[in-house]
Symmetry: C2
């Protein structure tokens, strides 16, 4: 069969962490995407001085770190959990005093995506906030790219797919990056439909609605900004650091 069947395309998008085993490839760079809000918050935290972010999948692990005196962010279902220092809001990291800090983080979706892909060749964090820096680096690396959307509890999620599409759109005009899996093509089409007015494009999406109900419109606006940082967080020995 064609290579399309075996998944050897240069760029693939995996829409949920649960599908990662189907798309994973030993030689691919994995880009973790959780636009609202984990990967945006991670980029913001590094831009504002964080030294290291330790992603953990469970609240239990986060609690252990908290007991040991770490700064800990913990979010479930859009809300900061009681007894922790941060939730999932980029603004909380910007306003916090995090210069040089190591922060432990667990979120509903984003840290799960990091967890499933942690053994990949390289794992980096993507958001609109660092899109251009990330694109330039991916082009330089010239590897296969797997864009791993965090989704919502293993369901497809519009804003993550749209960001994946933005990255596909920017990458695929470069030599050697035009071989797209169907999911990458679809994401690119979605981005091309939505990018002129992403806020409006996402207006009906379930997660935007969810966050708006929680009074987090400022967060959403922040997360849809482009190129607020040139930091590319990368996973090394189980922790995210600046590349």
């Amino acid at each position: 069969m064609s290579e399309g069947a075996s998944g050897n395309q240069k760029i693939e998008v995996c829409f949920t962490p649960g599908n990662y085993p189907i798309y994973k490839a030993d030689d691919a760079i994995v880009v973790i995407i959780d636009i609202l809000r984990a990967t945006s918050a991670i980029c913001a935290a590094f831009e504002h001085g964080a030294e290291k972010i330790i992603p953990v999948a469970t609240v239990a692990e986060a609690t252990e770190y908290k007991k040991k005196g770490f700064l800990v962010g913990a979010e479930r279902n859009g809300l900061q959990l009681e007894g922790f220092d941060f939730g999932n809001s980029p603004l909380s990291y910007i306003n916090g005093n995090i210069k040089g800090a190591t922060i432990v983080l667990t979120t509903t979706n984003g840290t799960q995506a990091i967890d499933v892909s942690k053994d990949a060749y390289k794992v980096v964090i993507g958001s609109f906030l660092n899109i251009t820096a990330l694109r330039d680096w991916l082009i330089k690396e010239d590897r296969r790219v797997l864009l791993l959307c965090s989704g919502w509890k293993d369901r497809f999620n519009l804003e993550d797919a749209m960001f994946a599409g933005a990255l596909v759109d920017q990458l695929s005009t470069n030599p050697g990056f035009d071989d797209l899996g169907d999911s990458a093509l679809a994401a690119k089409y979605l981005f091309q439909t939505g990018f002129k007015n992403p806020y409006r494009f996402l207006a009906n999406s379930s997660h935007k609605e969810r966050l708006a109900k929680l009074g987090l419109k400022d967060d959403i606006k922040y997360c849809l900004q482009v190129d607020k940082t040139s930091v590319i967080p990368i996973l090394r020995d189980g922790a995210l650091v600046k590349m």
Copy 2:
């Protein structure tokens, strides 16, 4: 949290059979989608006289039926398997003498999707060939709808997503059908991008490429035709019959 999180929306799209457990709902009608080519072939077969189609997941089961004297269609990776009567081409059913026949069918993706969802409230077969009849019936039923794409070996697939989007687009203008999950919204956007020239829209898709290499362009053209039948195949006691 909002209902979006719990998946109670009126229309959801599940992009692969593997994700069905995440999207399944006791009260939803499941529409099986495998545009290239299983669900198109099934619609064509009923339109041309088939009485009953027994979907089976494995070639072993298909072989057992063949030994018992049944007419059997068996396709893997786009090709008809040796020793069987049909593959996955709608044209082979149209040209075959199938009036009143019971046909057993196993395909790479489509019959897997039927298999995972067989215990749903109702399971029906959708394709461009019966889209208007299907839409009208779904509106009359006024139930939650889960559009289950067959994908390609549990990977996202563009033509199935586009058809799902066509159905979402047609359904969502009707009262009570405007509550869309993110996957349904995305599929609708994809359809709206692609529908003016679906053949061109799919030009880069992996499966179209795969079939074109196998010399099946006529099949693709056939499968993208709209309203060639008003038949709605429905699963009853393990077999597909005309509704």
